[in-house]
Amino acid sequence: MIENWVPALSSYAKDIDLVFDVIFWIVIAFWFILVEAVFLWLIVRFKKRDGVPAQYITGELKSEKNWVHYPHLAVLACDVVILFLAIRVWYDVKQHVPPTDETVRIVAQQWAWSFVHAGADGRLDTPDDIKTVDDLHLQVGKTYLYKLESRDVLHSFSIPVFRLKQDAIPGRVVTGWFKPIATGEHDIQCAEICGIGHALMPGRVLIETPEEHAAWIASKSASGAGE
């Protein structure tokens, strides 16, 4: 459902949308509508009428308790389905890192993102690393490992089109991965309040074709921006 408004541009974005959709259909489209319908029907059906007294139902009998007991078991069954799916996706996105092609370091600070790209040799911490501020250059189809750091307070690295979000914590290096699957230019947000400039740290992620990406690396190396 989310992809109708926010494009799904990472390999796992569709999975996260799937979790959302499944929960939507089970919980909203089925349960919520059903319960509200029963609820409203009861209000209309048992509205006060002259000469019709209320019934005396304790709800302590087993047959009466089953009214809530069976729906309750159904809720439990739905919970299991949702749990299974949610944990599976969580495992794929956060716990399990597939083989990656390149590493990018992301450093958050008040109030900017800096990115260290691997550069021409494809490896970090070499002289040809390319540092940028607020612009993250990625090549479509490559799997990236990110190392997320913070210099001062908590920030949260969020790329809505990737369905990716991870807090940056001072004193820790958080790793994770993403794989862009289509080209384009999109927003990077900071999703954890980080002081008065919280709204002023937008970044851009530029997903490029291999040719464009190579050209960008070449232009940076030529201008000597790689330190």
């Binding site: 989310i2 408004w5 926010v6 999975d15 979790v19 959302f20 929960i23 939507f24 349960w31 919520f32 319960v35 509200e36 029963v38 609820f39 009861l42 209000i43 048992f46 509205k47 006060k48 007294p53 209320a54 019934q55 005396y56 139902i57 709800g59 302590e60 009214w67 809530v68 729906p71 309750h72 809720v75 919970d79 749990l83 799916l85 949610a86 944990i87 996706v89 969580w90 956060k94 716990q95 307070v153 809505p160 369905r163 979000k165 991870q166 807090d167 914590i169 001072p170 004193g171 820790r172 927003d187 947000q189 900071c190 999703a191 954890e192 309040i193 002081g195 008065i196 919280h198 709204a199």
Partner: protein, 567 residues
């Protein structure tokens, strides 16, 4: 209006010695007066926090345009407003009104006692609470301005003045929170011991009205969960003012520790305010559907179960905050498990309506409105509790809409339900039902119009606590801007409808019809004494013969059967 009330107390014969106005209303140990103190303080702060929400919503809808009544909203203003809106609404509105005010009023009256067991501690509790309000207001005006780091107070932003730029404000704010906790610890101990020990003769455990149970369970949850945060608040204060490094990662501390200390309290806190509102709803739907509460023991067990489970789910607020992802799986499971008792409770309430004879007056509308909207809050919680979906939804407006769909029914709808239901007992006057219904429908529809759009802005990527989205090209589409503006206009409409309530409240208080002892024909003990009850509550304390929900018992002439009636 207070004078009017005093006249009434005298009419109904105050057995105790005459008291001056000051000792009667400012330094009273009477639980009913302390209830009013808590309630009016809470309402006054609700106006403050409501005004804050008006200011920052106007900024969201019309960024950069000066807001009438405030002026231009700077980023610092904006952060301060959202922070204090949240903190005030939870700590200084929901808790004092739902737990302290209703707890104070209802516990002694519903269990047939003449007062709280420790009236002086009760008074002290309110005085400390009032002090915390004063300290909170001081925090707005100190050098650097009020604290602006979100109500969760995450370090290092909270801990270091160089990051937050509100060094003094942060510490004063923390002090206010700490004082508030002390007030509620004292109050909570009073509630629990009163309900446990001071019950009327004959009142067995299962004869206690559900709302009393709920307030007691809520107090216990509060007492059991707030400890680590009190310790954390001391550590935080030392970090701010004395140079320690409990939460400073550069010197051996850990900022995540605070998040655990905070949410270990913060999650049970949700249930601390939820349970009293659920209890109020139980009282009202049974009375106005003339039905016995469906499966009393099940309601009680689910409440206790929810309470215990609520201690096992706290880290679902931190899924992407850097906790170990393996732990997130455990917390996902516990979080979805907690949906089971809550769902059961909702089913029980809906089942109670079956076979009833439902009168749709103002209190009943509020109570039914509570069930209808709280369901939305409940079901949207599943999206956030499921760790896979939370990766995207965390810290977006989806979260915000979700918890407003829980807190608004709890704190606002629940309070209005309770207030309109017990108004005749509290003040001895009847409220205008037509104005009450206008107020209900206006508030109810406008509320939904505020937060349904915010679910969508959240799904579309609006993240929280951003004072101006113009820096994010994808968040400046006409659709998003229209949704935000619509929500803001709905908020203004909703705030406007509260004037109807204030008008109704004041006119009913002054010129309302005099209320009977038992206008709703209810069973519970508070309806057996005068309206309003005198000091000491009853001339002779009642004895209890049956449970609180014996409505429409077959073979009886009346469709209600008061708890203290011998036959």
């Amino acid at each position: 209006m207070v004078v009017k009330h005093a006249d009434h107390a005298h009419e109904h014969g105050d057995h105790h010695a005459e008291q001056g106005w000051v000792s009667k209303y400012l330094f009273s140990t009477d639980h009913k007066i302390i209830c009013f103190q808590y309630m009016f303080t809470g309402m006054a702060l609700a106006i403050v926090a409501g005004f804050f929400s008006y200011v920052f919503r106007m900024q969201m809808a019309f960024p950069g345009v000066p807001v009438p009544g405030w002026g231009l909203v700077t980023p610092a203003d904006y952060n301060m407003l959202v922070t204090n809106h949240g903190a005030i609404m939870i700590f200084w509105v929901a808790m004092p009104v739902l737990i302290a005010a209703f707890g104070n009023y209802l516990i002694p009256l519903m269990i047939g006692a003449d007062d709280m067991v420790f009236p002086k501690i009760n008074r002290l509790s309110y005085q400390i609470f009032l002090l915390s309000v004063v300290v909170l207001f001081i925090s707005f005006f100190v050098d650097g301005g009020g604290f602006a780091g979100a109500w969760t107070m995450y370090p290092p932003l909270m801990a270091k003045a160089e990051y937050s730029l509100t060094g003094t404000g942060s510490s004063v704010f923390l002090l206010a929170i700490a004082l508030e906790f002390v007030a509620f610890l004292l109050g909570g101990i009073n509630f629990v011991t009163t309900a446990m020990n001071a019950r009327a003769p004959g009142m067995k455990l299962y004869d206690i009205p559900i709302v009393v149970w709920m307030i007691v369970i809520a107090s216990i949850l509060f007492m059991a969960s707030v400890g680590p945060l009190i310790a954390g608040a001391v550590m935080m204060l030392f970090d701010q003012q004395l140079g320690t490094a409990f939460f400073d990662p550069n010197r051996g501390g850990d900022p995540i520790l605070w998040q655990h200390l905070f949410w270990f309290f913060g999650h049970p806190e949700v249930y601390v305010v939820l349970l009293p509102a659920i209890g109020i709803t139980a009282e009202i739907i049974t009375v106005f559907s003339r039905k016995k509460l469906f499966a009393y023991k099940t309601v009680l067990n689910t409440a206790i179960g929810t309470g215990i489970l609520s201690f096992t789910v706290w880290a679902h607020h931190q899924f992407i905050a850097g906790i170990d992802p393996r732990m997130a799986n455990i917390f996902t499971i516990t979080t979805l498990i907690i949906s089971i008792p809550i769902a059961e409770m909702m089913f029980v309430y809906i089942a109670t309506l079956y076979g009833g004879s439902i009168t749709l007056n103002t209190p009943m509308l509020w109570a039914l409105g509570f069930i209808g909207t709280f369901l939305i809050g409940g079901v949207t919680g599943i999206f956030l509790g499921a760790s896979g979906a939370d990766i995207y939804l965390h810290d977006t407006y989806f979260v915000l809409a979700h918890f407003h769909y829980t807190f608004f029914p709890i704190a606002i709808i629940g309070t209005y339900a309770g207030l309109t239901y017990w108004f005749p007992k509290m003040f001895g006057k009847e409220m205008n039902d037509t104005l009450g219904k206008i107020h209900f429908w206006g508030t109810f529809i406008a509320f939904n119009c505020i937060f349904i759009p915010l679910f969508f802005t959240g799904m579309l990527g609006d993240h929280r606590r951003i004072f101006d989205y113009t820096n994010f090209p994808e968040l400046t589409t006409p659709m998003l801007e229209n949704l935000r503006a619509f929500a803001t206009i709905s908020l203004v409409v909703m705030l406007g409808f509260q004037l109807v309530f204030f008008y109704n409240f004041v006119t009913s208080l002054l010129w309302g019809k005099k209320a009977d002892v038992n206008p709703w024909r209810a069973n519970t003990l508070e309806w057996t004494t005068a309206s309003p009850p005198p000091h000491g509550n009853w001339a002779e304390l009642p004895t209890v013969y049956r449970g609180p929900y014996e409505y429409s018992v077959p073979g009886r002439k009346d469709d209600f059967w008061p708890q203290d009636a011998k036959s």
